[in-house]
């Protein structure tokens, strides 16, 4: 049994991010090298605690037979945080939605690490914990990076080779036709709102996923930036949305609905946005309905594991900017029941309602019929589980999966369809969300 060790020190956030970047670059150097990381934007309403996991000591690769109890045993059965993803397709199994599509991706993958590092923005303290040798290794790296000027972090290498054009599982005409089918189902009462997506597949020999992740992080930061290695696959998740956080039993979900794309010059260098633009989003009856509906759904989904009377809505119809998009969101809070843990909550509420539609069971069955692709990682979640009443997780949108063997990059984007949706506008919103992966050569 290796000797457990902990080390804490106060340092600049950029040093922590530089350590993460260094380890991400090393991730393709062979098994067990590098690290999985979760980076965030300090001060953002959806900010999470940045996390680095280095040196894999255990892993749980989900199959269709993986049970919630096995997930709990893996996360809670040994010390240290678990980090990884749970796919939308695993969520379909949890919710009993049948699918005939082949599963081409692990249904989930969680790891435990020889050493983890986490950064507390409030205090500026980094805490490294785990096995003594691995902790020492991260400590030495931090000491060295602190000596180097953090601003000197090297610009990241670009991918070589030529990127092919994006192949859409639902090109414009097909997407708009599916929107019209969805509208007919809404008018019939089969569903009240539905999130429809398309997959983009790009062939790209020479793609450098680590460089892609780091360039995106440097130019287009968002609250839940995750880098995760799963076999030959590399997950590049640039999600803006929190699914569920539990901290000391206090539950927070921050569903996003409503998107406004900003043009150049519509926000200042400090990120401030003209209040009139925010008002255009909050004043839209359509976006209001979309968000309100999902807030009621999230209240429902956390209530099964929260104390009666504790579930509340605050900051309804708040707006934040992420990347070049304004997003409207709300805070849904509750208190986890004493006899439940954070994975009861997560697995009962999964996948997040903002990416299914409402009611969830009906929406998921219709999505399965309308979408020709598997969602896989998309609309699943990246999660860090620190204890039975302590976790954080994203809604894995704006996420790409790079496959080195097939030389492909898959990413997905979608939009929420409600009764007054316009098919052409929904397609445009979908493409706007995919924009950061579609315009990579500009980075």
């Amino acid at each position: 049994m290796p000797t457990p060790s902990t080390f804490s020190t106060c340092l600049d956030r950029r040093v922590f991010d530089a350590l993460a970047a260094e380890l991400v670059r090393e991730s393709d150097g062979g098994f067990g090298r590098g690290a999985d990381v979760l980076l965030s934007v300090p001060g953002h309403p959806a900010a999470t605690t940045p996390f680095i996991g280095a040196g894999v000591t255990g892993e749980l690769v989900f199959s269709a037979r993986t049970t919630p109890d096995e997930v709990k045993d893996f996360c809670f059965g040994s010390p240290g945080p678990a980090f990884g993803f749970v796919s939308y397709d695993y969520g379909m199994l949890l919710r009993g939605i049948a699918s005939a599509k082949p599963l081409d991706f692990p249904l989930g993958h969680l790891k435990k690490y020889a050493a983890t590092a986490q950064y507390d923005d409030a205090t500026g303290i980094v805490t490294v914990a785990g096995e003594e040798r691995a902790v020492d290794g991260l400590r030495q790296r931090l000491a060295r990076l602190e000596q180097e000027h953090p601003a000197a972090i090297a610009a990241d290498r670009r991918s070589r080779g030529t990127r092919g054009g994006a192949e859409l599982s639902l090109p414009r005409e097909a997407y708009e036709a599916r929107v019209r089918e969805t509208l007919a189902l809404i008018r019939a009462g089969d569903v009240y709102q539905l999130n429809l997506s398309t997959r983009f597949r790009v062939r790209w020999p020479g793609l450098d996923p680590a460089g892609l992740f780091l360039r995106l992080w440097q130019t287009r930061p968002a609250p839940f930036y995750a880098w995760f290695a799963s076999g030959a696959l590399r997950v590049v998740s640039t999600a803006p949305e929190r699914f569920l956080r539990v901290r000391g039993g206090e539950v927070l979900s921050q569903p996003i609905k409503g998107t406004l794309r900003l043009e150049d010059g519509e926000y200042g260098p400090d990120g401030t946005v003209d209040p009139a633009l925010m008002a255009r989003l909050t004043g839209s009856a359509k976006e209001d309905s979309e968000l309100s509906m999902i807030v009621d759904l999230i209240r429902n989904d956390i209530s099964a594991n929260c104390e009666v009377g504790s579930v509340a809505v605050s900051a309804h119809k708040s707006v934040f900017r992420v990347d070049r998009l304004l997003q409207m969101y709300s805070d849904v809070t509750g208190r986890l029941r004493q006899d439940r843990d954070c994975l009861d909550l997560f697995l009962d509420a999964f996948p997040g309602g903002s990416v299914t539609g409402c009611p969830k069971a009906s929406a998921m069955a219709i999505i399965e019929a309308l979408e020709p692709h598997s969602r896989g990682m998309y609309c699943g979640s990246m999660l860090v589980v620190r204890g039975e009443r302590d976790m954080d997780s994203s809604v894995a949108i704006r996420t790409a999966v790079c496959d080195a063997r097939a030389a492909t990059m898959d990413f997905w984007a979608g939009s929420g369809i409600v009764v007054d949706s316009d098919p052409a506008s929904e397609y445009q919103e979908t493409v706007a969300k995919a924009e950061k992966f579609l315009t990579l050569e500009e980075l």
Partner: protein, 179 residues
């Protein structure tokens, strides 16, 4: 009070459960999925609540047995339409649909803000049922029968957009002679 809440695979049922638990003193709520209603023991319940849900009232024939056994029954949204259909009433598509909108309606002599989610609305009221509320454009928002202990709300008392959901549960207990 022993309450049986039948869930029509909806995403608001737990909200209704929590509202009932918070507003009905000493209540115990058992949630049964519609798919298992046929074998569920409904006799023991002092109140049956039919949840909202997708689809049309005629998609849910298993409620006929529950309704034939007599009230008290409270239906919300689809639940109201199911009660109405059992009494021979009809629903039709609501022009434009309304999903996730709050609006004020006249209720018990005052204006009350309620949440609406529906694609269909009641166009023909079932036998023995009385319209108890309409919105400002005439859409039926509540109907029922005190004598038969049946009550339906088209709007959603359990939504966070409904200003005072507890009022409607308290009214239901009075109307259904349970208070």
């Amino acid at each position: 009070m022993r309450i049986l809440l039948v869930d029509n695979a909806d995403s608001f049922t737990r909200n209704l459960e929590h509202l009932l638990l918070a507003t009905v003193p000493g209540s115990v709520v058992r949630v049964v999925p519609y798919a298992r209603l046929a074998e569920a023991d409904t006799v023991d319940a002092q109140l049956v609540v039919i949840s909202p849900g997708p689809g049309r009232p005629e998609d849910y024939p298993a409620y006929d047995r529950v309704l034939a056994a007599g009230g008290p029954v409270l239906g919300v949204c689809l639940g109201m339409q199911i009660i109405n259909r059992w009494r021979g009433g009809r629903t039709a598509p609501l022009p434009g649909c309304v999903h996730g909108r709050a609006e004020a309606i006249d209720w018990a002599g005052e204006r009350q803000c309620v949440a609406r989610y529906h694609s269909l609305h009641v166009t023909e009221v079932g036998r023995g049922l009385t319209v108890l509320a309409r919105n400002d454009t005439g859409v039926i928002m509540a109907l029922g029968s005190r004598a038969d202990r049946l009550l339906g709300y088209q709007f959603h008392p359990e939504s966070f957009m409904t200003f005072d959901g507890g009022t409607f549960i308290a009214h239901a207990l009075d109307f259904l002679d349970l208070s």
